[in-house]
């Protein structure tokens, strides 16, 4: 018998570039990170009475796909199969897929019909989206309330391309941050820091102070920055 | 139900319970928090205490004092009607003013006080203070108060609120006239014990004696009550006396 408190659903949606350039170290780091995230979010969930974590992984190369075909799945039930890299970098197809999901369940999406929590979106790419600009696809996303309230992070993987950076910045605009990963060997740790920190901060619902608290976004940003600076310290 | 046993036409006696509360500036913080809490907790279980006191109706009054003494309710209230509103702290500690108000209260109803004109049960007075009066003539006012017959027969207790000096303790001892009725523990259960023992014993003693007037009989009555109480209090080991 499922005797437990009813919790809200916190959707964590990870959008992974799996074009050919991601082959090798980069995709291996992503796969490693996803496995760790599943385990750690499952543990975090047991010690949290506010939210249950639900995972969605969208991969894109020639076209966008849902990993395992799952639109969304309770984190403890998510079974990862390794993502393999090949093909183009059709980011716009991922945007279309994402827009499809960021709707209420009753309209075919994955967001709850009532009482939802703003989702966490993480987009990672090593650059050069095939289609540019993606005016239509971006505008379609920005019309969705769930997209606008989402906490958004972008990871620029060993990227030296202003166009892609701008693209990530536009994606996270107003409600998130773009993190640069200069060294693919650190990718796994950076992904984990972002997803786990954002999940932790968004799920913990701290006590309120009379002087007012900083926004969740600001809090996540601060903690992510702090954790990342520790990565840097350790590495160099 | 007990009324009927007492016979027709005899009203239930009133048992007056009076809290005298110091809410001066020095009581700010934990002290007043503890006092507010103690009174509300006692009120929580007052229906049980009333049940144990079958042949008297408990009436509750409260007098607060800081710069001046003020009644919380103009008239004594029944258990159901007495609602406690947390006191805040303010001003000096005019214990003299409180004693003067108390003296008026301990006067017959026909003379403007709250004591019955005929008969009656000795009231219970519980003083709650940290013993730091700022009215230095409080001893004189206590002397006048002590002349009141109803004060003599009243069952007087004092709750020592975080007192650590002899001087402060002495203020409370002077009021009760008996160091053994100055209490340092003020949990609801301990207070219940005090009120309960007094209420039960007082009403029992009362029903044994033909009439209780101010003066001779009352003093005897009070002595009997005190003796019984003392005996019962001996059995109580988790209250520090």
């Amino acid at each position: 018998m499922n005797d437990r408190i009813a919790k809200q659903r916190l959707n964590v949606m990870i959008i992974v570039d799996c074009s050919k350039s991601m082959q090798g170290e980069r995709i291996a780091q992503v796969n490693g990170a996803l496995r760790d995230i599943k385990r750690q979010l499952s543990e975090m969930q047991d010690e949290n009475s506010n939210v249950d974590f639900y995972l969605t992984v969208i991969t894109f190369s020639n076209d966008a796909r849902l990993l395992n075909g799952d639109k969304t799945k309770a984190v403890q039930d998510f079974n990862f199969t390794d993502i393999r890299a090949a093909g183009w970098s059709n980011l716009h197809t991922a945007y279309i897929q994402l827009a499809d999901l960021l709707k209420k369940e009753s309209r075919g999406g994955i967001m709850p019909d009532f009482g939802g929590v703003a989702p966490i979106l993480l987009l990672m790419t090593d650059g050069h989206p095939t289609k540019w600009p993606m005016t239509e696809e971006t505008a379609a996303l920005k019309r969705l309330p769930w997209f606008n309230v989402a906490l958004k992070y972008g990871i620029a993987i060993e990227l030296n391309d202003k166009r892609t950076t701008d693209c990530l910045k536009e994606f996270v605009a107003g409600n998130g941050d773009v993190i640069e990963c200069y060294n693919a060997a650190l990718l796994k740790r950076i992904i984990k820091i972002i997803v786990l920190t954002a999940s932790k901060v968004k799920s913990r619902s701290s006590s309120v102070h009379a002087e007012g608290a900083q926004s969740v976004v600001a809090e996540v940003k601060q903690e992510v920055q702090q954790a990342l600076s520790e990565v840097d310290d350790w590495e160099w | 139900m007990q009324d009927r046993m007492l016979g027709e036409g005899i009203a239930r006696q009133e048992l007056n319970l009076l809290f005298v509360i110091d809410n001066s500036g020095s009581m700010e913080g934990e002290k007043l928090g503890a006092v507010n809490n103690a009174i509300r907790d006692v009120m929580s279980i007052m229906p049980e205490i009333q049940e144990d006191t079958s042949d008297a109706t408990i009436k509750i009054s409260a007098l607060k004092f800081s710069d001046k003494a003020e009644w919380i309710y103009a008239e004594p209230q029944s258990v159901e009607n007495f609602k406690w509103k947390d006191l805040g702290s303010e001003g000096g500690t005019n214990l003299s003013g409180a004693y003067d108000e108390l003296a008026k209260w301990l006067t017959k109803k026909s003379n403007g006080g709250q004591m019955p004109d005929i008969g009656g049960v000795a009231p219970i007075i519980i003083l709650m203070t940290d013993g730091l009066p700022t009215s230095y003539d409080w001893r004189d006012h206590l002397e006048s108060l002590k002349k009141k017959g109803w004060f003599k027969v009243a069952l007087k207790y004092a709750l020592a609120i975080e007192i650590d000096t002899e001087e402060a303790m002495d203020v409370l001892k002077k009021f009760t006239g008996n160091p053994e009725t100055v209490l340092k523990v003020y949990t609801a259960e301990a207070l219940r014990k005090v009120i309960n023992v007094i209420a039960v014993t007082a009403s029992k003693v009362k029903s044994n004696s033909a009439s209780v007037g101010v003066g001779g009989d009352a003093a005897t009555n009070n002595e009997m009550a005190q003796a019984e109480i003392a005996e019962k209090l001996d059995e109580i080991d988790d209250v520090e006396w």
């Binding site: 009475s49 009532f114 009482g115 939802g116 009379a210 | 913080g29 301990a190």
Partner: protein, 429 residues
Amino acid sequence: MLFNKNDEIDLGDKKVVIREPLGEGGQGEVYLVDYDGGKYALKVYKNEESSDFRYNLKNNIEKGSPSEHFLWPKKLIDFDDGRIGYLMDVRPKNFVSFVSYLTGKNTFASREVMLSWCINLCTAFKKLHEMGYSYQDLNDGSFFLGPDTGALLICDNDNVTADKKNLGILGKMRYMAPEIVRNEMMPDVHSDRFSLGVILFMALCLGNPYEGERLKNYDIIDEKAEYELYGSNPIFVYHKTDKSNRPIRGYHSSVLRRWAYIPLYVKEAFHRTFVDGLSDRENGRTTEIEWLRLLMRYRDELVRCPHCGYEFIYGFGEKAPVDKCPNCGKPKKEVCVLELGKHKIVLDIGKKLTAAHLDKFSAEYNRAVATVIANKNNPSLWGVKLDLSSPVAIKDANGVEKTIPGNGVIPIVRNLKIQFSENLIGGIK
């Protein structure tokens, strides 16, 4: 993290040595440390705290813990950089978080144990309030429990202040009293009492008392939604007349299932706090001492279904008689009942009499002084095993009297009278 393994903090006379990180919250970090030959937990505040906060913490340390249920600060530490922290005892391993109970990861061994935990909780807050303190930030993260014993530990005691004093903390949404959410009052004893009601409701029903159908009005629970749900217009899910916010079928399943079998007098107590207590914050909210009486009564009337093991109430105070197990539907077993003053105790195996049963002036609501046991050789014979310092006298239906020593066993037979003390005679029905 602020510290690494083996970092040393010099306190002049003694040293604190960092062993490992134990946890991290919004406010600070907690480490396992060595100090003065023992293991302690060290909490360090991330930000510089106000001098008022420091003074209050110091004062609380000097006053000492209200009861054994609090993981109370023991020693204040000032760091060179202006930060402060304190040492406290380490939470023993056999305690699990209240949150993990809510999420279904851990459960209480029985309903009786759960009620004992609730009774511990009320005893602890009663004690805290008797000392003139208020806790100010009761929420799901503050509590730990022994799943088999009902033992309680309360953490995060750093916001405890004298009643009506405030250091700025308001509390956590979903636990805060509405007047605090609306910013009309600062936390005090009365908002503590509201939050205590929420925690008890969560313990008993596994849900929040204000989360029901009205959630459907909101696509997203943002600050505005929270303000309305918990602040400006909170409606208790089991409000007697306003039925607009009942638990949602298929979503709040545990609340729906559990509320049905809670005794009426406990339901009334929740209704007082969550309905009457909204407008009358000082006298409308069920107090700890009232909870203690009700929860004790609830525990006293629990009986275990011999067929499925489900624990349910005998039903003394219910409108409709309880004659079958709500879980498996088989008939309720007939058990002797001990009537003792105002108490009615269903003498099922394992049932305990506490000090508070025998002495109405006792504040020991969880100290067992007798337990119902089955005879080893003949399990159909039941008795009350005493753990008292003095003997009790019994008299059976035929008037035969006997003295049972303080550590003896009273046989459970109908119409037996038990004299526990001069004024306290119980009867088995």
